[in-house]
Symmetry: C2
Subunit: 263 residues, 2 copies
């Protein structure tokens, strides 16, 4: 993914964050769970201990307990991985699978019409979290992973979420964006771009690096609140994303209408 | 869902299980997380305390800590829900989203051809856990929720998973199935049915109650091990599920081939 240079680590809820109130066992447990990532889906006890900086005996005790609780699973070689019990609990996150359940049929339609990557993202602090992705076989290499975090300024969906985020968060991102801007930036003037997104009700962007793509994105609303963004990504910088804007906006409207009905 | 009468609660990894080794804070934290379900996606502090049988002060301390860690989130009214951070961690479960990532494009194809419900399930102890579902707008009411558990004997995918499960687990399920069988049962002779599923490499079933449906299911293999089941559910007891068997088996083969390549 591009834009890791924009990465601003003020996310207080991160698993690796220092404990603020005293439940050190919970901190260590979530540190251990948080040490799994796309490059470390399966870890040995030694690896877990090393990556979390936790003594081996403590790691073993915690890993055993988390396995007993179903949060971890062991394979035949005794290595640890995230367990399906955690998937079961996580599936109840209203901003994740709950939203996804409502959005999915409409995303299907959008996917069948565009035959590209259709993405559903939510904002978590200053980052975009990919909740769902549908990708056609022929839509080019998959660059996004469900559950992955991206800087808000690095994706079309993220720009939509940022445009409708609280003003103080926008100012924080704008300040750090200016400090860290690179030639790869999506927009020459982010503040103006955000105002345009709010006015038009959609975002478009095209860029060539680090990989060519064009994106059209629109907000999903629960009442007046923007709760997620829907986007279509085409793996070409030459494709005019305006061709997808009407479809993405109509799809986003359809999901928003259903979200409102649920209230 | 049908078949809750078959439900056998020997699942030692359940969040509500009694602690076996001493990390009472972790037990209480997972008990609290496990108290969320489809009917309790959003809970007040009082509700959490009542449903977990934990004193209010302890519940508050734990809920605060879990919110700090991102495992819980609070809405405007201060009520708690499962947080997207948990979705992020859970997305790394190899048996959940990892599998899903490989299976999804093939499930799309199967979905577009059949226009019914396409399900991906894994086994967790004696239960089937729904990892993914694609449903056409016109495929009838949605009866399955991603993240939901079902008895192995109540679904086509579950029967496939049971047929290829360790023999001692099969015997346990068979014993309790006989003890609790009802007129709604999918098969008159479960043991024979499981042998047929192993021999044929697929399962079919039709039933009228509690809601009409026909299902065709096939195993997904990682090497020689059956790791999941793929199924197509048609909301009619009169539909001949054999019409879908070849498609489901071919799709399952395609996913299995890709799983093997990843090793």
């Amino acid at each position: 993914m591009n834009g890791t240079s924009y990465f601003i680590d003020w996310h207080g809820g991160s698993a690796m964050a220092k404990p603020e109130v005293g439940e050190p066992v919970l901190d260590r447990a979530f540190c251990l769970l948080g040490s799994f990532d796309a490059d470390h889906r399966v870890q040995t006890l030694a690896g877990l201990s090393r990556r979390t900086g936790t003594p081996r005996s403590t790691t073993l005790r915690l890993a055993r307990k988390l396995t007993e609780l179903g949060a971890l699973e062991r394979d035949e070689q005794g290595r640890y991985a995230i367990g399906v019990r955690l998937l079961e609990i996580a599936s109840l996150a209203p901003r994740g699978h709950g939203l996804r359940q409502v959005a999915m049929p409409v995303m299907e339609d959008l996917f069948q019409v565009t035959r590209q990557h259709v993405l559903l993202t939510v904002r978590d602090e200053d980052q975009a979290l990919l909740v769902e992705r549908l990708s056609a076989h022929d839509a080019g290499a998959v660059r996004f992973r469900v559950g992955e975090r991206m800087p808000l300024t690095s994706t079309g969906g993220g720009l939509v979420l940022l445009a409708f985020a609280p003003v103080d968060l926008q100012e924080q991102v704008l300040a750090s964006y200016r400090a860290e801007r690179t030639p790869d930036q999506l927009h020459t003037d982010l503040r103006r771009a955000l105002a345009e997104i709010r006015r038009g009700g959609y975002a478009t962007a095209s860029q060539d690096k680090p990989w060519p793509r064009s994106v059209a994105a629109a907000p999903l609303r629960d009442g007046t609140e923007v709760v997620a963004a829907l986007s279509v990504v085409t793996p070409s910088a030459d494709f005019d994303p305006m061709y997808h804007v009407a479809a993405v906006r109509a799809a986003a409207q359809a999901v928003s209408r259903q979200l409102n009905c649920l209230c």
